[in-house]
Structure formats: C-alpha cells, structure tokens
Amino acid sequence: MTKLDLSRRTVVGGLAATGVAMTAGTGSAQGAPVKVGELNSYSRMAAFAVPYRNGMQLAVEQINAAGGLAGLGGRPLEIIYRDDGATPGDAVRVAEELVTRENVTFIAGAFLSNVGLALADFANQKKVLYLATEPLTDALTMGSGNPFTFRVRPGTYMQTKMLVDAAKSKGVKRWAVVAPNYEYGQSAVAAFKRLMGAAVPGFEVVAEQFPALGRVDAGATVGALAQSRPDGIFNVLFGADLTAFVREGNTRGLFERRTVVSLLTGEPEYLLPLGDETPDGWIVTGYPPEQVDTHGHQAFVTAYKAKFNDTPRLGSVLGYVVPFMIRDMFNKSRSTDTAAMMEAFKGLTTQTVCGPVTMRAIDQQSTLGAWVGETTLKGKLPTMKNFRYVDGADVMFPEAEVRAARRT
C-alpha cells in the first residue's frame, strides 16, 4: 500500500522540516500532494455547501502558495471533493471510494446530521479519521462520539446555549417554540427548555409546533403560536420555512412586543433571503461578514470577494477555517498515520480568522464559536447588530456530562 511509502516520505519530510518548520512560508509547496477526502451535499444543499467549498478552495490555495504543509516537507494539501448524495447510504459508499481509490489520508465534511453520524461510525469501523465539519447534532461528540471523529462547527447545544445566555437576562417566562420536525429541531428545543428552565425561574413553554421540514404551513403555525399568547418565541426554523414563517408572522403581528430568539437565523444563508422583511431585534446566532474586523477577518472577506465575486456565507468562513486546522494538524503530526493524526488533533490550537480555535480533547469538539447578536436591516441589506463573537469554549458541554455520555 501507499501508506508505507507515505510514512517513509514523512520521515524524510519530517527531518527536513525540523529546521524550517515554523519559518516555512516562503516559496510554494512541492512534492506529491497530501490528499484529504471531503464529502458534502453539493447538489442537495448547494446553498450552504458551495460557499463552503469556495472557502476551502481559497484556504488551500493560500496554504500551498505559502509553502504547503511544513510538517510533511512542504508537500501541498489537496482536497478531493465528492457529493455525498445527501443520504447516509450514498455517503458511506463515497467515503469508501475516497479511502480505497483516492487513498486519502482522512475524510472530512458532511452537512446533514444523519450523514455525519453514519460517516463517524464508518470511520470508527474502518479506523479512518473523520473531521466532521458541518453536522450540528450533539450525538456526534456525545452519545455516538468515537475516537476517530472530530467536529469543527459548534453543535446544536452550543449554539442554543449562546442564545440562552444572551436572552435569559430579559426574564421572559412564557415561551412558544417552533422547530422543524427532525433531530436538529427536537434537540434544539430540548436544549432550550433545559437551559432556559435552569436560568429563568418560572420558565414555561405554552405552545410547541413541529412542522415537517420544508413543508411548514405558515398560516396555521403562526395562528397556533399566537393563540397561546406567549411573551417569547424560540424559533429553530430555517431556509424556506423561515422565510414563510417570518412573512406570515410579520403580517399577523406575531412578533410584535415579543422577544424572539432564533437559532442560525443570523447566518447569511438564511438571513439574506428574508430581504426587507427581516425582523428587527431578533436575538440570533449567525455571522455578519462585512462587520467582523478581528483576527484579520476583513482580509479574508476581501480575498473571498475578489475570487468568487460574492460575499462570504457562514459556510465560506467555516470552509476557510478548516484547511488551516488541517495544516496545523499535519505540522504537528508530521505523519499521515491515522493514530498520529488523531493524537495531533487533540488539543490542537489554530489561529483562524475567527480567533484561536482549539480541538478539545475530551469530546473532540472544536472551540470555534459563532456571533450572537440581533437582526436588523442596514439599508436594504439584512445583517446583525450589537453582536459579539462567543467563543465556543464558553458554551461547551460540561466535562462531567461528556464523560457520562461517551462512556459506553
């Protein structure tokens, strides 16, 4: 197998790199590329996955222009993109193809949670490293977590906790919740009830609605929520469901004089389609690309705009961050051996355009955070105001809970 070959090169590369490891950055990468297999729903979930791939391509370009993977003797990083068919069945087959035919060093990606979980289990079974970039489900790092699976994006619990931390001071007690009827929606609601219940005495949920994903009957749903006369609304709908819900709610006055807390709604993927109907003052998690000015973020935004003639989405920034994490991992592992890569990821800190991101060892969840703020319209452009970056490290599952969940 090529693995032997790789490790021999790695030794040579490692020796060569010891001298120049951290000073690398001059000249472009050379040698055989180090392949990483990336699968995602580029076809079915194109709105998220294509900006994500753009972000990755930009980062890989920059990494290779700056000398490639110093830890592997300056070899260039190559990401091989594959459609995962948006079903676990297809995804596992494609992963197999990447591992056996393309000889990738490890696999990354997936957007849908069930695809991510299937890949994680595949990784566990085949002893392949899997870097889950986008799936949100908490199971990935908790109950179904395994030593081979690392997750980048803040999961459902983390994002919900960010919102609860931002909203609990309002002291609202009567809540209505609306969420798409699948795991993500159910978990978010469960986390919300649990965290809000602990933070606000007298907290109660007076109405719950779980429309089927992509098929919300907005009128009936808004009517059912309004009927319960809540003081606050927790929304987990996104995409077309969200737009329909917002329009209906705006016309019927559902959001007037109510605190609305909404998961992911600040992400440009979901916020931009709301257009001039963007409600003012919803507390959301998201990403305001043009306003973030820390950690050289605007340089990324400029480069992205120049290359793709489009503003970055949340997918873009996530996609941009990941290859740098991969680079740093290789620089630390100095090997493409799975065990070495796993060891390298644990506790690895990467400087990113969002700030430092550490891969927490205990649950193999990164501390990448998200921006929490309020929705608003700037001219005609929906965006966020009063936002701040919440470091993922502040909202992770307590270590005791992780230990209990992962001990199986």
Partner: protein, 636 residues
C-alpha cells in the same frame, strides 16, 4: 378555544387548501386524460415560482400595481404551460405506447433534470419574491389580523374550480377531456386527434402547476426543494378526491388543509404523516377515492404490462448467467475493496428489485412503496443488533425477512383489495406511514439520525467475507424467487393479473394469491434491507423514503418488467450510472435524469426487453438451418 381564533385558523386552512387545489387540479386532469403519473408536476410548480420571482419584480419596476403583479403571475404560468407542451411533444408523445410505468420513469427523469437546471440558472440560494402590491397588510377580522393576500387566495381556488368546470362542460376541448378521462380508447376510436388533445391537456396541467407556484411567491421563497415537497401532497389530493375528478380534488384539498390547521393544535408533529394517514383511510374505505369512478378499462382485457411469455433459459443464456455469476463471485479476489462494496450494494438492490418485479411484472401489483419492507427489514436487523438484545448478525438476518414479511402481510391485506393507481398510492401511503413511525419514534429508532454500529459479526467483518455472505443469501433468494415465477403459483398470479374476473371464475382466490405474493416479496425485500444495513453500518429513515422506493422502480424499469431477469440487469445499470456520474460532477442528477430518459426512449421495454426483442428479430431473419424457428423459440 375562542371563536375568533377558530375563525382565523379556519381561514388559514382555507387559504392553504385553495393554493393546494390549484396545483392538484392540474395533476388530476393530466392523469385523467393521459393516465400518466406525472412526477414532473412538482417541477412545473417549482418552475412557476422561479419564473414568477424573475418576471414579477421586473414588471413591478414599471409600476407597483396589483394588475401588473397578476399579469406577471399569469405570464409565469403561461411560460410553464409552454414547458409542459414541450415535454409532451419532445418526450411523452414518443412513449404513449410503452407501458404506463415507463412514462412515470420518464417524468421522473424530467424531475431530476429540472432540479439541476434550476440550480444552474437561479442558483442555490432561496429567492424571495415580492409581496402582492396592495395586499401586504393584514385585515382585522374579529380582533385578529389576517393577511389580505390569503383572503384573496381563498377565492382563487373556487375561481379556478369554476373556470375548470366551465371549460369542462362548455368547450369542445373540455368535453374531450372528460370523454378521454372516461374512456381513452373510445375517444381515439371516434377519430379525435389525440395528439392535440394530449398536448392541450399537458398545457393546462402545467399551466395550473405553474400558476400554483407563481401564486406562492408572496408566501414562500422560490427554493430548490419545492418540487418534492409538493408532489406527494398533490398526489394525495388527487387520489383522495378520485383520480381525474376536479371537484374531488377540491374537496380533498379542503379536508386535508382543514384537518392540518386544527390537527397541529393537538398533535404538533402531525404534518409529517397526516395526509398519508388520511389517504390510507380513504382508500381502505372508498377504493376509488371520494369522487372517482372505477376505471372503465379495469374490467376490460388489455394487454398486461408485465411478463408475457415465460421462457426458461436457453443453453446460451444459461452459460451467460453462470459466467456472470462466477465473474461476480470473483470480484473480491480480483477487484479492489471499493468494487467489493459496490458489488455488495448491487446484489442487495438486485434482490429488492427482483422481489418488486414479482409483484409488478408478474403480479401486476404496482408498488410505489417497496422501500417500506426493505426499511422494516433493515430496522429489524439494525435494532436487534444495537438494541438492548445485542443479538448477533445471524439472528438479525433471520429476523429481517420475517419483519419485512410481517409488515407486508399487514399492509398487503388492505393493498391487494385495490386496483391500478389506487393500489399503487396505497402502497405509497403505507410506506410513508412506516417512514413516519420510524422517523418519529426517536427513543427506539433514533429518529432521522438513525442508529449506528450495525456491523457484521466478527467472522464476517471483512468486506470480502461479508461479500460472500451477501452473495450466498441474495443469490439463493433470487434463484428461489425466480423459481416461483415458474411454479403454478407464478402462473396463477399472472392469470389474476391478466384478468381478475376470469381467474376468479375458474376458482382462483385472487386476493389470497396476491396477498401471498406480497408477503413473499416483502420478506425478500426485508432480507435485502437487513443485508444492506450491515454493509452500511447504520440504519436511518432514508432507507424507507419515497426516493428509495423510486430507486427500486427505476431499477426494474431500466431492466424491463416484461422479463424475469431484467431487474437484475437494471439494478446493475442504474447503480453503475449513478456511481459513475456522482463523483464526476455536482450536476449528477442532471446526467442521471438524461440517462433515464435515454433508456426510456431507446429501450422502451427496458434493457433486457430490448435484448430479447433484438434476439427474436435476429432469430426470425436468420433462422438456424437445422432447427425450425418455432421450435427454436419454444426452447429459447
């Protein structure tokens, strides 16, 4: 529940019902006349919305008037109507003579193509259309605000219904539509230009779908998931109302949306399954839908669409199949692990497809929900292994066919009482109900995340060994199923398919035989599902989804339902095509769709059907000098 809320909720239900009816009416008309189960109807709906978010804002640039808004909406619907005509002329017209199921296959190809074309033209981001000028506001009703646009929508449905009834009863075109709905052959025999009639019908159908989509833009953003989100609902409406019945569709849409508006108050998660529950209940009670009539043709002896002449293997064929089997068995020795993986999948799907063809090709029982039994088998196996029992793989693989067979026995009991498209839709309804159960029962099934950790026993853990486990089980099952075709049981099923009445008259218990076939097929699919779950390592509801059922249909249709072995070839071809295009391009659905349509146009009897046709022609042209042709064909 106070009165004002009741009124508002009812109005919401009416508005949604009205919108749904506009879409479903087109579907029911097209089905009534052409007998085509037009999957592309949802695509027309989506195109209507995309056209509208393109045309309407452009028009509103000139003047923000309600008139221009509706001009834009109608223009969008017209464009979509023209697209419907193009589909009819370019595609459907060529395949009216092929089995009805093939037309379904072709329209599904169109669905795949449109999905990627829309993605290419309009991009992946949802496009939010403008609100209707003059109808942005809410109207105060009993102290609650209700959107003016939805008040308007409430009247659109009845208006469209009125217009359609007028067309149906007062114009020649409408009279012909009604006549063709009642008896298509008779209309043709009377010298009516069917081509024109069908083209006109497709225009009307696509126009209504486009109108439905365009009218949605003030409520919904145009998005790439619209087609599939509406198509099943539209089908359900037409089936509950009675296929071909426009007033029936209206009543069905009303019932569904009213039940939904109030149902969600008691069961907040009901939207997932409500329509299918309702459809199942209606079909069990009223086999032809609320206002449908038994098909005239259902009592008539028509050339069946399945296996006609049952032939054994000729010597050459035996050689070919033995060689193929041996080649397959050599895959783990000669091929790489990925080939082994693909080989496993093809064998598993081949078994599922073969069992489906026992129903469709041999029994005339068209199932749109075969994934239900496949999925039940997969879940039974997966849950046994991962659940509290921690059973071994061997036990799970025994349980899988039992579970599949049990589910088939339960659902089949109701299903085999129906006929034709209604039967097909009931299979779909049961499949969706099964899907909803596994989707919703999170504590046991893990919901949509499914359950992971379904791996083979230690001795079969390597891919190669598991390949042979699958090979032994799948191939023996296929051989056993194939044997069934040749037994008296197989002949009885075909008799019941070709003429239920005559079969009944000579003392065959038609229902019981069909039920037994359903159970056998369900068990085989269940075994396939169990084998599949161990090859993937996980189970999740996509294994029961409509998409999976459609994949199975595609496989047997690609191979040809008129042949016994066709489904096996079809599975290999379909899977290979998909596997070929998926790594190649983001637009793999486009190429899959084009391949499907190409297969329909080039091989209207499926790949194997075409091969057999070719062989027969060759045989006729150049009869072997030693054996007379008749004898040759008998032994062939």
């Amino acid at each position: 529940m106070d009165f004002s809320f009741f009124v508002i909720q009812a109005l919401s239900g009416l508005a949604s019902a009205s919108a749904l009816f506009v879409i479903a009416s087109g579907l029911t008309i097209v089905f009534g006349v052409t007998r085509i189960v037009n999957f592309a109807h949802g695509s027309f709906y989506m195109l209507g919305a995309y056209m509208a978010v393109t045309i309407v804002p452009w028009l509103l640039e000139f003047d923000r008037s309600p008139t221009l808004f509706f001009v834009g909406v109608l223009a969008s619907a017209m464009v979509v109507g023209v697209l419907g005509v193009i589909m009819e002329v370019v595609l459907l017209r060529r395949i009216y003579r092929v089995p009805e199921l093939f037309q379904l296959l072709a329209t599904f190809g169109v669905v795949l193509i449109v999905q990627d074309v829309v993605l290419k033209i309009w991009g992946p981001v949802d496009i939010t259309g403008p609100r209707a000028p003059g109808m942005r506001h809410g109207v105060e009703i009993l102290g609650q605000r209700f959107p003016a646009y939805e008040l308007f929508l409430i009247f659109v449905g009845p208006a469209v219904l009125g217009a359609l009834l007028l067309i149906m009863h007062k114009t020649r075109f409408g009279v012909l539509i009604r006549a063709a709905t009642q008896d298509r052959e008779m209309v043709g025999a009377l010298g009516v230009n069917q081509a024109m009639l069908f083209t006109g019908t497709l225009f009307l159908g696509a126009f209504l779908a486009g109108l439905g989509g365009a009218l949605q833009i003030p409520r919904l953003p145009a998005n790439t998931g619209m087609d599939l989100s509406i198509i099943t609902e539209a089908f359900v409406v037409t089936v509950i109302g009675g296929m071909g019945s426009v007033p029936g569709a209206f009543i069905a849409a009303l019932i569904i949306k009213m039940l939904e508006a109030f149902g969600i108050l008691i069961f907040p998660k009901i939207t997932l399954v409500l329509v299918f529950l309702l459809m199942a209940v209606v079909l069990v009670v009223k086999p032809w839908g609320l206002m449908g009539k038994p098909e005239v043709a259902s009592g008539r002896a028509v050339l069946p669409e399945g296996i006609l002449n049952l032939k054994g293997f000729s010597r050459n064929e035996t050689v070919v199949w033995v060689v193929l089997t041996l080649a397959l068995l050599l895959v783990p020795i000669l091929g790489d692990t990925y080939k082994v993986k693909v080989g496993i999948e093809i064998m598993v799907f081949a078994l599922a497809a073969f069992s489906l063809n026992l129903l469709i090709g041999n029994g005339g029982i068209v199932s749109f929900g075969h994934a239900a039994y496949f999925g039940v088998g997969a879940y039974a196996a997966g849950l046994l292994v991962t659940g509290p029992l921690k059973a071994p793989m061997e036990l799970a693989l025994v349980a899988a066919p039992l579970a599949g067979g049990l589910a088939a026995a339960l659902f089949g009991y109701f299903i085999v009482r129906l006929h034709g498209i209604y039967l097909a839709m009931l299979t779909l309804a049961f499949a969706q109900i099964t899907y909803a159960i596994f989707f919703q029962w999170v504590e046991v099934t893990g919901g949509d995340n499914g359950v992971v950790g379904v791996w083979p026993s230690r001795w079969a853990a390597t891919r190669e060994v598991y390949f042979y486990v699958v090979a032994v089980l799948a191939l023996t099952s296929i051989v056993a199923l194939r044997h069934l075709f040749y037994t008296p049981f197989g002949y009885t099923l075909r008799a019941a398919r070709d003429s239920a009445n005559r079969a009944d008259a000579i003392g065959i218990d038609v229902k019981t035989h069909r039920w037994l076939a359903f159970i056998v097929a369900g068990a085989a699919a269940g075994l396939a599902g169990g084998l599949y779950s161990f090859s993937k390592g996980s189970i999740d509801p996509t294994m029961i989804s409509i998409a999976m059922s459609i994949d199975f249909l595609m496989m047997i249709l690609t191979g040809g339902i008129q042949t016994v072995m066709g489904p096996l070839v079809g599975t290999a071809v379909f899977h290979s095509v998909k596997d070929f295009f998926m790594p190649l391009t983001d637009f793999w659905r486009f190429f899959l769709g084009v391949s499907i349509i190409a297969i329909v146009l080039i091989f209207p009897k499926g790949v194997v059907g075409a091969l057999e046709g070719l062989r027969e022609r060759m045989g006729r042209r150049a009869p072997s000098p030693t054996t007379p042709p008749a004898v040759a064909r008998e032994t062939a």
